[in-house]
Amino acid sequence: MKIDLEKSSFLSALGIAVRGVSTRSAVQTLAGVMLKVDGGQLELQATDLELGVRARVDVNVDRDGSAVVPGRLLLDVVRSLPGDRATLEYRSSQGDVEVVSGPARFHLRTLPAEEFPRLPEAGDASVVKLPAESFVETVNRVARAASRDETRPHLTGVLVSASERQLRMVATDSYRLSVKETPLDAPVEGSLEANVPARTLQELGRITSSTQPEEIAIASLEHQVIFSSGGVALSSRLVEGRFPNYQQLLPESFEHQLRISTPELLEVVRRISLLAQKNAPLRMRFSEGTLDVSAQTPDIGEATESLPVPFKGEQLEIGFNPDFLREGLESAESEEVTLKLISPLRPGLIEASGDGPGSFMYLVMPIRLNV
């Protein structure tokens, strides 16, 4: 392999590929980036076995071939090169890759290429194309509700479905459930339903924020999914196990429905949460026209604040995990939310009232208060 390349375009592709590099594996090769030159193009590959990244970049090819080089090191080296261009050459007799730019010369020992896993290919799998902006925005609204508890792997994913003119994503960690439905300008060709690891989707968000593609093509394989956009392909295993039947979790009716200004409530919640430490709940006491938010942590202190709300009827006190409540309000991303409640031990629902009914729902289970 011998190539001549432009530093800046190579660097942006390498920066993306390195996100797939495994830093914590016992398999040494996974700390590497595979450089594969074929037919006038360079493809960079990296994987930690759960997630794989391939990024293509145009280079001048002297000789085809491939090599695996420590990823972070290559990134640091290329970033520091003095010139605008560089040549990379795999020297099989020395077992290294030579990087030359201006007067600077590096020899980087390669990692065993034969141990580098094959990344999945889309082949003739069915592909659904979706507008990148809508997709990433929808991810950002729900991904936080996915579980990070790897002992419950089936909850670490986001259920992504698209058909007709609608994209929907659902995530739950069993304490809260987040559902975002996003209308699409143009109808989707084909349909999609996949339980994708939340981590993959968050990584996709980071990649697209630097590549700014118009569209994302999603290929579903039996156990894998591949997201392609603008010369970058992100592959990931799918979450095993069925996504819970979330619709049955949404209560059919509520006792109370309150329209509340989101920024106002959010500010109070953020402030009072400072004193809800060590698993202490945020207490919300609703009485005629008023909501008192309070928190208390033994040996630390307490806080309380009230705000006017259109509450009617008998007093109701309910406790929530402050982070769960805050994240729900933040993800609503609207000026107003409708807060729906039943009773202190039944779930509460935050609905964004900004952009049409049913577009964002966040169901959150309370914490039992010991009075």
């Binding site: 016992a26 790897e150 304490y175 979790l249 033994p298 289970m365």
Partner: protein, 359 residues
């Protein structure tokens, strides 16, 4: 504590504690190189007498190597029941003299001497009481914080008594390796050296910004503070262990998951038994793996709810091991549950009161 009162902290470190205790019941060995070490093929030295240290034998030296270094040394297997009993005796003496004592191990403790009229005199009384009543020697370091006190107690061992201000500590140890500071381990020392930082003085003089760029926003500034001997930790008179672990070194290296998983199960079982008995639970479950090349790897996972349930700890530990998948023979395996204090101190609404959706 009143802020205006200047903080004075003493660190009491028993001199070659296990060996000294052994010598009390076998006085004929006094003056000879004595080593307390286990007997298995992979045992390490727990304590060496100062005579044995002259042969290059220290804590954690493999016992086999110690035998080669000093064939004439007397090897004694450890008797931890005895050491614990003697430790309680020593700590009781400390408490007779000082109100606020934080015991940090069988052979060391911090004393809070803040507000005393003559703190140095109090510390000298402690030292002579330990010698007089328990017949054991100790070294004491005194400083404005735990870090200075700890390093000072180690500076002139055995029988040391060193008083240092923060500035004096900075000057005195400016030429020492950063590894002198507890909390700066060999790996960090190595990384610092790679950046041309070989002394504490140099580390203290390195801009925090540069350290942050190399070591991250947390560790970088933390290293700088340590090098300046700054330490805000207070004396914790009631000390609650934040983690509990069980580990074992194999007589012969084990290879492959089939061989390792039963060990994980056994360690998890022992660990959970202890936790259940103590009525403690933790959220973080971890494993420790030392490979045949002596590299040590740890992996941990934090759950949303605390546990001391054997099935949970075992399945998480097994999963961590499977994911790590050591490709080489394994020397040591450990299982750990951490974040224990959160479950205990949480008192009121622990995570158990968080209701769940029925999925």
């Amino acid at each position: 504590m009143n802020d205006r009162v200047r903080r004075v902290i003493a660190h009491v470190d028993m001199d070659a504690f296990y060996v000294s205790v052994e010598l009390q019941r076998r006085p004929e060995l006094r003056g000879r190189p004595v080593v307390v070490a286990g007997t298995g093929p992979r045992a390490v030295v727990t304590t060496a007498s100062y005579e044995a240290r002259r042969f290059g034998i220290f804590s954690a030296t493999p016992a086999e190597r110690a035998r080669r270094l000093c064939p004439g040394a007397v090897f004694i297997p450890p008797d931890f029941d005895l050491y614990r009993a003697r430790s309680r005796e020593v700590m009781a003496i400390l408490r007779e003299h000082v109100d606020r004592v934080e015991v940090v191990g069988l052979d060391e403790a911090y004393l809070d001497l803040s507000g005393l009229e003559r703190p140095k005199a109090a510390a000298r009384r402690v030292k002579s009481a330990v010698k007089g009543e328990a017949g054991l020697g100790c070294s004491i370091g005194i400083g404005p914080n735990k870090l200075v006190a700890k390093v000072a107690s180690d500076a002139e061992k055995p029988d040391g008594f060193v008083v240092l201000s923060r500035e004096q500590a900075c000057r005195r140890f400016a030429d020492s390796s950063p590894g002198l500071i507890p909390g700066i381990g060999p790996k960090t020392v190595e990384r610092l050296r790679a950046h041309g930082i070989e002394t504490l003085g140099r580390l203290a003089a390195t801009p925090e910004r540069m350290l942050a760029a190399t070591f991250g926003d947390r560790l970088g500034p933390h290293l700088a503070r340590l090098a300046r001997f700054e330490d805000e930790r207070s004396i914790e008179t009631v000390r609650v262990a934040k983690s509990e672990s069980r580990e074992t070194t194999f007589d012969a290296d084990l290879h492959g998951l089939e061989a390792l998983e039963p060990v994980i199960d056994r360690l998890a079982e022992q660990l959970c038994e202890t936790l259940v008995r103590q009525e403690r639970m933790g959220r973080t479950i971890g494993i420790k793996v030392r490979l045949d090349d002596f590299s040590t790897h740890t992996r941990a996972r934090t759950r949303e709810a605390a546990t001391n349930d054997f099935e949970v700890v075992r399945s998480v530990a097994r999963d961590l091991l499977r994911r790590f998948d050591p490709g080489r023979p394994v020397r040591l395996l450990g299982v750990r549950v951490a974040g224990l204090d959160e479950a205990v101190a949480g008192g009121p609404p622990a995570a158990v009161d968080q209701l769940e959706l029925t999925l």
